[in-house]
């Protein structure tokens, strides 16, 4: 099922993120998604997230599909040139994958193979255009594809907390023009700021899914504030989490996330949960948020 169809039906769409393992024992992470069957609409499978070498998105997406779970294949520009990217897009279609999320990708220097060559032959806007072209039956060089062209729902990302925000919005508009049909955002903790962002991109008339990252500890929140672009966890939230005893942290953290989801729900068309190892808590948060 294409995500774009769900948005067309007016559904509030819920997606969760899955990080493939470093190693080939993949059953555990797939089993952890079982409680979300029927609750999450689709699962983003990351493409060597944080530039760390691991099992690929394509294979994991197919395994999800085999279990009857809807995958969204993340595709970054970091590791493949236009030949590799287009070929993988066709491979995804052959394997029945219907949702693609096209992103630039982190620089290899941030990951576990910092000496790797950064490819970035295409950027995210150009990748979206390339996939769109394949969907119209032609490759980037203008050669005709044989037979039926592939069809996907195309997604992209945006960082509503970026400073300055204007270049992000200009690029978002380019992504829409290139074919993006929905957007997932970086983690949101400031509802007012997110509301301002939504106001500024209203004219693009494209579904936006607010990003949710569970705060595992006050230290994690502080780390993100210092190191992650466009994320700002306000002091009130950090203090709220720090104020409870350690054994109550998980409960409190889930409560904070559920509250954020409730506050964000009316501002956007869906939420995207990046649980970072806390997959087992997602269904609780969704219930607490009334979803």
């Amino acid at each position: 099922m294409k995500l774009s169809e769900l948005f067309k039906q007016g559904k509030f769409v819920i997606t969760c993120e899955v990080g493939p393992p470093k190693g080939i024992e993949i059953k555990k992470i797939l089993d952890e998604l079982e409680p979300l069957r029927g609750k999450a609409d689709a699962f983003n499978v990351t493409d060597l997230q944080s530039s760390v070498m691991r099992v690929g998105s394509l294979a994991t997406c197919r395994l999800l599909k085999d279990r009857g779970l809807e995958p969204i294949m993340q595709l970054t520009c970091r590791d493949r040139n236009r030949l590799g990217l287009q070929s993988d897009v066709l491979s995804a279609a052959v394997l029945g994958i219907e949702n693609l999320l096209c992103i630039t990708g982190d620089h290899p220097k941030l990951g576990d193979h910092p000496a790797a060559m950064p490819v970035f032959d295409l950027d995210s806007v150009q990748l979206l255009s390339a996939v769109k072209s394949l969907m119209n039956g032609k490759d980037m060089a203008g050669n005709e594809l044989e037979g039926q062209p592939p069809q996907f729902a195309l997604g992209a990302v945006v960082n509503p907390g970026a400073d300055p925000l204007e270049p992000q919005i200009i690029k978002m508009a380019k992504k829409v023009k290139a074919g993006a049909e929905f957007f997932q955002t970086q983690a949101v903790y400031e509802v007012d700021k997110f509301a301002d962002f939504i106001e500024k991109v209203k004219h693009l008339k494209v579904p936006v899914m607010a990003g949710i990252v569970f705060l595992k500890s006050p230290a994690m929140a502080k780390f993100m504030n210092e190191n992650v672009a466009g994320i700002h966890v306000p002091d009130e939230i950090i203090n709220e989490l720090a104020a409870v005893p350690k054994e109550k942290r998980v409960e409190k953290s889930l409560e904070i996330s559920a509250r954020l989801i409730k506050q964000l729900k009316d501002l956007c068309q869906g939420i995207h949960i990046m649980s970072l190892g806390w997959e087992r808590h997602i269904s609780t948060v969704l219930e607490m948020a009334g979803l």
Binding site: D123, V125, S129, V158, E166, P167, A229
Partner: protein, 221 residues
């Protein structure tokens, strides 16, 4: 030597757009030898622009446009004319265009593509870098190179990784796209960013067999 080739006049006129008053600035170093700078090319460009209905406000030749001190000192004499010009068309390599953009608060347009840095460079004393990509985009980015200033060489705007104006790869390095954004804001050309740039043609980085046979490329050849 930095080897450059003239951009097609159609591309130059398209990039000048509605700008009427153009100042011509040519390099007398490597670009003179490649006939992308120097007296002869400057005069030819002058005629082409007038033919296209532009008003050439002034012309100036500088020995090495990659030397910012030299450029700033020489252009100081032309300030009056420059103030009444819409933009500067710079007849030189990618380093030279970036150097000019750095010393004067004016819109700059490159007139050439830098194809090869060869073995020997111009003066090139500062931070500007050119990768000799063969398809100069400095016009669209306000004279700051996205290929060399952005760690990912992105052409359509910033990734989401910069924090406090610094690159995700190195906290001490400015985000190239932040610099480009600020520069375009300063010269009133933010709308440039709305244009979708096509993927690069990496084959234009390969010097042609014709060029490889010349002394521009191989001094011993």
């Amino acid at each position: 030597m930095l080897y450059t080739e003239n951009k097609p006049i159609e591309e130059i006129l398209e990039s000048l757009g509605k700008e009427k008053n153009i100042f011509l600035l040519g390099c007398n170093g490597c670009a003179e030898v490649c006939e992308t700078g120097g007296e002869k090319t400057l005069s030819a460009m002058n005629i082409e622009l007038e033919k296209a209905g532009k008003n050439v406000t002034g012309t100036c030749l500088v020995d090495f446009l990659c030397n910012k001190m030299l450029v700033a000192t020489r252009l100081a004499r032309e300030m009056d004319i420059l103030q009444h010009s819409d933009s500067i068309l710079v007849l030189t390599c990618g380093i030279g265009v970036q150097a000019v953009s750095k010393v004067i608060n004016k819109v700059v347009h490159p007139a050439a593509n830098t194809v090869s840095l060869g073995g020997l460079q111009g003066l090139w004393p500062a931070e500007e870098r050119c990768q000799a990509c063969g398809d100069c985009a400095l016009d669209y980015t306000g004279g700051i190179c996205p290929v060399t200033f952005c760690a990912k060489s992105l052409l359509n705007g910033p990734c989401g990784g910069a924090k406090d104006g610094k690159c995700e790869v190195d906290k001490e390095k400015d985000c190239g796209w932040q610099l480009i954004f600020e520069r375009l804001q300063k010269v009133g050309r933010l709308e440039n960013l709305k244009k979708v740039r096509s993927p690069r043609d990496h084959s234009s980085m390969l010097p042609s067999s014709q060029l490889r046979k010349t002394s521009f490329y191989d001094l011993e050849g």
